[in-house]
Symmetry: C2
Subunit: 132 residues, 2 copies
DNA sequence: TTCTTGGTTGACCTTTACGTAAAGGGTAAC
DNA sequence: GTTACCCTTTACGTAAAGGTCAACCAAGAA
């Protein structure tokens, strides 16, 4: 049970974001660190949430999307209807992520084709420059 | 050799975007349809560019990113240095897309875990509602 | 001729995700 | 005490990607 805590600048440096960003996420109710006086103090579980947030951003989730997913995770899944809603929301996200993977694969193929053609072109026209 | 052409509304309806969006892409130099008087008239190759643009957006490219890639594709790859720059730019994009795929896979796993837990929870607490 | 339909430009509006001061509190070192 | 550092809040600024609205043109239908 690691009881480590983090200051705002520790956390922001670790993940390459600014303190402003962390405060913004708090405004948007994505994280809720404890306070020590005025100062924010982040727990390991706050840190875990942050990791989720940042990965969410990298896959193109909006702040609202991320809040939704975090709420799914930590929210009281008590009520039946709420559960059902959450499950279908998840499934929708899953579908769109799978579409996104397809898009990425297609883009990757086009990009690597482009690289190939250009590499060949270079090899033909400027053979003196060894690309390898 | 399909010499079809498209009006702005045809194209926007086909892809579920507004004419405004197409005009905006033109302002941003992503497409350059011919004109018939004032009216824009899009060729099949304009349409192909549009497909690229929209897929680019879905994988999180910005307008600037997309312009860059389109220029790589259609730009004169003549000069040597330019080629080299283009190739490394492509490779950078490829790397980041691969990272993005990893992120997506991780997110997918967490989401499907979440769905699983909730489904089990539902089955235990509300067995009368058949989820299958 | 007037009306509708579909196109045009231009101008301003909106949302998202922060950046960037401005002004100040708390404590530790000098 | 004051300097330095890290933290705070409040608040306005900004870039991206369009939305929205007004005013206009042109061609065909009624």
């Amino acid at each position: 049970m690691t009881k480590r805590t983090y200051s705002i600048s520790e956390l922001s440096e670790e993940f390459g974001i600014t303190p402003r960003t962390l405060r913004y996420y708090e405004d948007e109710a994505l994280i809720a660190p404890k306070r020590e006086g005025q100062a924010r103090i982040y727990s390991t579980s706050d840190r875990a949430r942050l990791i989720w947030i940042l990965r969410g951003k990298r896959v193109g989730f909006s702040i609202t999307d991320i809040r939704e997913v975090l709420n799914m995770h930590y929210g009281e899944g008590g009520k039946e209807e709420q559960c059902r809603v959450t499950i279908t929301a998840c499934n929708n996200r899953i579908k769109s992520l799978e579409q996104q993977k397809k898009d990425i694969d297609e883009t990757l193929e086009e990009l690597s084709n482009l690289v190939d053609t250009m590499t060949i072109f270079m090899a033909e026209n400027y053979p003196e420059d060894n690309i390898l």
